[in-house]
C-alpha cells in the first residue's frame, strides 16, 4: 500500500536522519471551533422568525385588504343603487307629461304651425301663432255614472182637507204627514 513512500524513504541518505525526523508529518490535533455556533443559530432563528412574522404580516394585510374589499364592495353597491335611483328621478323629471305640465303652468302654449327663422338672412318663414284649440294634457275626469246622481224626486201631495186641519191646528202634524208621504213615494220608486 505505502510502497512508493517506503521507496522514497529508503533512497534518502541516512545523514539527513535528523532533518527527516524533524520534518516528519505528525497528526495535528483538531482545533475546536466553538465560535461559529451562536451566529448560525441566530441567523436561523432570525430567518424563521422573519418568515413567521412576515407571513403574519402578509396574512394581516390580506385580511385587511379583505375588510377593505368588503367595505368597498358594499359602498359600490350602495352607490350604484343611489346612481340608479337618481337616474330614475332624472327620467321621471324628463317625463314629457311633467314638462308639459310645468310649461302650461308658466303660460306656454302649443304653436299652431311651424315657423322658421333663417339665421343667415333673419327671414321668418311661416306665421308664428298659438294653437286655436289648446292641447289638453290631462285626461278628462270620467263622467259621473247616472246611478250616482239620481234625479230629485218630487212628490206632490194634496193639501189636507180644511176640516181635519181645523181639528188639529198645529204645524207639526201637517209636517209629519208630508214627510210620511214623501217616504212612501220614495219606496214606490225603487
Amino acid at each position: 500500500m505505502s510502497t512508493p513512500a517506503m521507496q522514497v524513504r529508503s533512497r534518502i541518505p541516512r545523514l539527513a536522519e535528523d532533518a527527516i525526523q524533524r520534518a516528519r508529518l505528525t497528526v495535528v490535533p483538531r482545533r475546536r471551533t466553538t465560535a461559529g455556533r451562536a451566529p448560525f443559530l441566530a441567523l436561523v432563528s432570525m430567518v424563521l422568525l422573519g418568515g413567521v412574522v412576515g407571513l403574519l404580516l402578509f396574512n394581516t394585510s390580506m385580511q385587511q385588504a379583505s375588510f377593505a374589499t368588503t367595505a368597498l364592495e358594499q359602498q359600490s353597491t350602495r352607490l350604484a343603487a343611489r346612481e340608479q335611483s337618481l337616474g330614475m328621478d332624472l327620467d321621471r323629471l324628463r317625463n314629457p307629461q311633467r314638462i308639459a305640465g310645468a310649461a302650461v303652468k308658466l303660460g306656454m302654449v302649443q304653436a299652431c304651425s311651424p315657423a322658421f327663422l333663417q339665421l343667415g338672412t333673419g327671414e321668418v318663414t311661416g306665421a308664428p301663432c298659438s294653437d286655436a284649440v289648446p292641447l289638453r294634457i290631462h285626461a278628462k275626469a270620467p263622467a259621473k255614472p247616472a246611478v250616482l246622481s239620481p234625479r230629485t224626486k218630487v212628490v206632490r201631495v194634496a193639501a189636507p182637507p180644511a176640516s181635519t186641519a181645523a181639528g188639529k191646528s198645529t204645524d207639526d202634524t201637517a209636517g209629519g204627514s208630508a214627510a210620511r208621504t214623501t217616504g212612501d213615494g220614495k219606496k214606490k220608486s225603487r
Binding site: 396574512n59 390580506m62 385580511q63 385588504a65 379583505s66 375588510f67 374589499t69 368588503t70 353597491t77 350602495r78 350604484a80 343603487a81 343611489r82 340608479q84 335611483s85 337616474g87 330614475m88 327620467d91 321621471r92 324628463r94 317625463n95 314629457p96 307629461q97 308639459a100 302649443q110 304653436a111 299652431c112 304651425s113 311651424p114 315657423a115 322658421f116 318663414t125 311661416g126 306665421a127 294653437d131 284649440v133 292641447l135 289638453r136 294634457i137 285626461a139 278628462k140
Partner: protein, 591 residues
C-alpha cells in the same frame, strides 16, 4: 445485580408479553382510526364536505341587470333600478307592531291597517306565520334608509331581499307597445316579446366568509352575470307623448270608443309614434281594463273605408288606364246587381274628374273607375301594398287583417273593396300602404325596433330587416299625391281641417261602417280616419289617425283631420322640416 433486576422484571411481565400487548393496543387504535377514515372518506364524503362548506361558505346570486327599453334617442321608456322587498317576521315584530306600522306607513306608500295586521302575530291554518311581505319593489336606497332607521329605533323582525324594480318613467307613454312586468315575469308587450334579450343571465359567486368578511385565499368562484341588452325602438318619446295626448283629446271630445294614431318616417319606415287610446299607466297596469292593455293599432281589425281609395286609384293610374283628369259621370245612386251604392252626400248626376272623386270621396266614382281593373288585378295590387299580411314589427298578437282570397272575389265584392269596405286591415298595415304613395311608389316595411332583435317566436325584426318593394310607378305615386292634395283644399276638398299652414299636405279621409262584435254585421257605428303625409312634394312623415265610433256625428275630415294636422305640425316642427315653398296642385275636380 440479579437480585435487583428480578423484582422489576416480574412486575412488568416478560418483554414478549409486553410487546404483544402493546402491538395489540396499537392495532386496535389504528383499526378504529382506519374504520373512521373509511366511514368519512369512503362511505359518505359529500355530506361532510357540504356540512363543512355550509359552515362558512357563502353563495350569492349576482343578478343580471334587465336591459332598458329606450326610444330612438336613447331616452328610457322602461328602466331597471336595484330594488328590495321588505319582509317581516310577525313573531318578532308583533311586540311593537303598531309603532312599526306607523313608521312604515310614513316612509312607504302602504296601507296602515293591512300592514298592522301583517305585523301582528297571527296564525294561518293553525300554524304561526313567520313571513309576510310588507312592500315589494322598493328602490334599494329607500329600503336601506328604512332599514337603518328601523335598526336605530330598535325595531326587530324586519328584513330585506333583492327585488329589482322595473320603472316606466313616462308612465303611459308607449305603454301599449312596451308592455309591463308582473310580480315575477314579463306579461305584455316588448317586455315579454324580447324578454330573452332584455333579461340577461344571472351569475353567482361562492366564497368563504369569516366574521362577515371574505376569507382571503379561501375558496372563491365567481360566475359573472351577463346583463340584459337594451332594446332600442324607433319611437320618439316626445312625439309619442304628443300623439297620445292629441289622440286622447280627440277620442274624448268626439265621445268615441277608442282610437289610434301612427306616425311613420316616410323614408326609413320607422314608426315614430304608435299612440293608442284609451291607454294605461305601465306602472299600474291593473288599474285599467284589460281591453286597453294591448295595441289597438296592430291587434284590432277594422274596415279602412275611403282611405283605401288611394290604393285603388294609384293602382289604376299605375296600370295606365286612368289619369287624374279622367272624366267620370257620377250618378246620384249606382245600382250594382241587387245592391245600390250611395255616396256620403246627396247629389244628382255630377261630372267629376278622378281627382274630384278623391277630393270629394265619392264611392260611386271610385266603383266606376275600378271597373277598369281586370279580374284579380286589384287583389294583386292590394297584396303588394301589404294588406292581408302581418307587418311583423315585433308586436305580439298582431292581426294580419282580412283580405279575401283572390279566388273568392265577386264583382260586388270588388266594388266594395275598391272603396274600402269588405276588407279589413290593421292600422300599421294601412299606414305603410299609404306611406308607399308618399315614398314614390316604393313600399318600405314598417319597423318598431332600431337595428335587429329576435322575438320569442324566433322572428328577427327591426330596421335591419326592412324591405323595399316597388308597388306602383313613381309617376303614379306623384299623380295620386296630387289628387290627395285636393282633399285638403278648403274649396273643393272634404278635409280642410287637416291642413298645416304653410305646408303642402296630401291626405285622404275615411268614414267606414263598422262591424259590431256581437251581431257580426254593420251595426250603425263608424270608423273615421285620416291618412296623409307632408310636405306633399317631399314627404317626411306619414300620419294615420283612426277613431272608432265617434258619437258627435263627425266624419274622417272633422274628427281625425284636425288630429292629423296637430300631430303633423308638431312632427314637422320637432324635426325642423321647412316648407318646400312650392304651390299645391290645382287639379280640376269637375269638368
Amino acid at each position: 445485580m440479579p437480585a435487583t433486576t428480578t423484582p422489576r422484571g416480574t412486575r412488568r411481565g416478560s418483554p414478549q408479553l409486553r410487546l404483544r400487548v402493546g402491538f395489540l393496543v396499537i392495532a386496535i387504535a389504528l383499526s378504529v382510526f382506519g374504520a373512521r377514515l373509511v366511514q368519512l372518506q369512503g362511505l359518505d364524503p359529500n355530506s361532510y364536505a357540504q356540512m363543512a362548506a355550509a359552515e362558512n361558505l357563502h353563495r350569492v346570486d349576482l343578478p343580471a341587470e334587465r336591459g332598458d327599453i329606450v326610444d330612438r334617442n336613447g331616452e328610457p321608456l322602461a328602466d331597471s333600478v336595484a330594488g328590495m322587498m321588505l319582509i317581516a317576521d310577525p313573531k318578532l315584530t308583533g311586540a311593537h307592531a303598531a309603532e312599526l306600522a306607523a313608521f312604515l306607513y310614513k316612509r312607504l306608500d302602504i296601507d296602515y291597517a293591512s300592514t298592522l295586521a301583517k305585523l301582528r302575530e297571527h296564525k294561518v291554518d293553525g300554524t304561526e306565520v313567520r313571513f309576510e311581505y310588507i312592500a315589494r319593489r322598493v328602490p334599494s336606497t329607500i329600503a336601506t334608509d328604512i332599514m337603518d332607521e328601523a335598526k336605530s329605533r330598535g325595531f326587530k323582525g324586519l328584513d330585506t331581499e333583492r327585488d329589482p324594480v322595473r320603472d316606466y318613467p313616462a308612465d303611459d307613454v308607449a305603454a301599449n307597445l312596451v308592455g309591463f312586468i308582473g310580480t315575477d315575469e314579463p306579461l305584455a308587450g316588448f317586455e315579454r316579446t324580447f324578454d330573452k334579450q332584455l333579461s340577461g343571465k344571472d351569475g353567482s359567486a361562492r366564497y368563504e366568509v369569516g366574521g362577515g368578511n371574505r376569507i382571503p385565499l379561501g375558496e372563491s368562484t365567481v360566475k359573472e352575470p351577463v346583463d340584459g341588452k337594451p332594446l332600442q325602438t324607433t319611437l320618439d318619446l316626445d312625439l309619442q307623448w304628443y300623439a297620445q295626448r292629441v289622440l286622447q283629446q280627440t277620442v274624448e271630445d268626439s265621445r268615441a270608443d277608442s282610437g289610434f294614431a301612427i306616425v311613420m318616417d316616410t323614408r326609413s319606415g320607422g314608426l315614430l309614434a304608435v299612440a293608442d287610446g284609451p291607454t294605461y299607466d305601465a306602472n299600474d297596469p291593473t288599474a285599467s281594463p284589460k281591453a286597453d292593455l294591448g295595441s289597438r293599432a296592430l291587434q284590432d281589425v277594422y274596415e279602412p273605408g275611403s282611405v283605401e281609395k288611394v290604393l285603388t286609384m294609384s293602382s289604376l293610374i299605375d296600370l295606365g288606364v286612368v289619369s287624374p283628369r279622367t272624366r267620370i259621370v257620377v250618378p246620384g245612386q249606382l245600382r250594382r246587381e241587387d245592391r245600390p251604392i250611395n255616396d256620403w252626400w246627396q247629389h244628382g248626376t255630377i261630372p267629376l274628374t278622378l281627382a274630384g272623386v278623391i277630393a270629394k270621396s265619392s264611392n260611386i266614382g271610385t266603383v266606376l273607375a275600378a271597373d277598369k281593373f281586370k279580374q284579380g288585378q286589384l287583389y294583386t295590387y292590394l297584396q303588394k301594398f301589404g294588406l292581408g299580411q302581418k307587418t311583423d314589427v315585433g308586436v305580439r298578437g298582431e292581426t294580419s287583417g282580412l283580405l279575401p282570397a283572390g279566388s273568392t272575389w265577386t264583382h260586388q265584392m270588388q266594388d266594395r273593396i275598391a272603396f274600402g269596405q269588405s276588407v279589413s286591415v290593421n292600422g300599421v298595415q294601412m299606414a305603410a300602404a299609404i306611406n308607399t304613395i308618399a315614398n314614390g311608389g316604393v313600399r318600405v316595411s314598417p319597423s318598431l325596433i332600431e337595428g335587429s332583435a329576435t322575438t320569442d317566436d324566433g322572428v328577427p325584426v327591426g330596421t335591419d330587416h326592412a324591405t323595399r318593394k316597388r308597388v306602383v310607378s313613381a309617376k303614379a305615386a306623384t299623380q295620386t299625391m296630387r289628387m290627395m292634395e285636393r282633399v285638403i283644399d278648403p274649396e273643393v276638398g272634404v278635409a280642410p281641417g287637416a291642413a298645416v299652414a304653410g305646408y303642402r299636405v296630401a291626405g285622404k279621409t275615411g268614414t267606414a261602417q263598422r262591424v259590431g262584435a256581437e251581431c257580426g254585421c254593420y251595426d250603425g257605428t263608424d270608423t273615421v280616419s285620416f291618412a296623409g303625409f307632408a310636405p306633399a312634394d317631399d314627404p317626411r312623415f306619414t300620419i294615420y289617425v283612426v277613431v272608432q265610433n265617434p258619437r258627435n256625428g263627425g266624419g274622417g275630415g272633422s274628427v281625425a283631420g284636425p288630429a292629423f294636422s296637430k300631430i303633423m305640425s308638431y312632427a314637422l316642427r320637432r324635426y325642423a322640416v321647412p316648407p318646400t315653398g312650392t304651390q299645391p296642385s290645382q287639379l280640376p275636380v269637375e269638368w
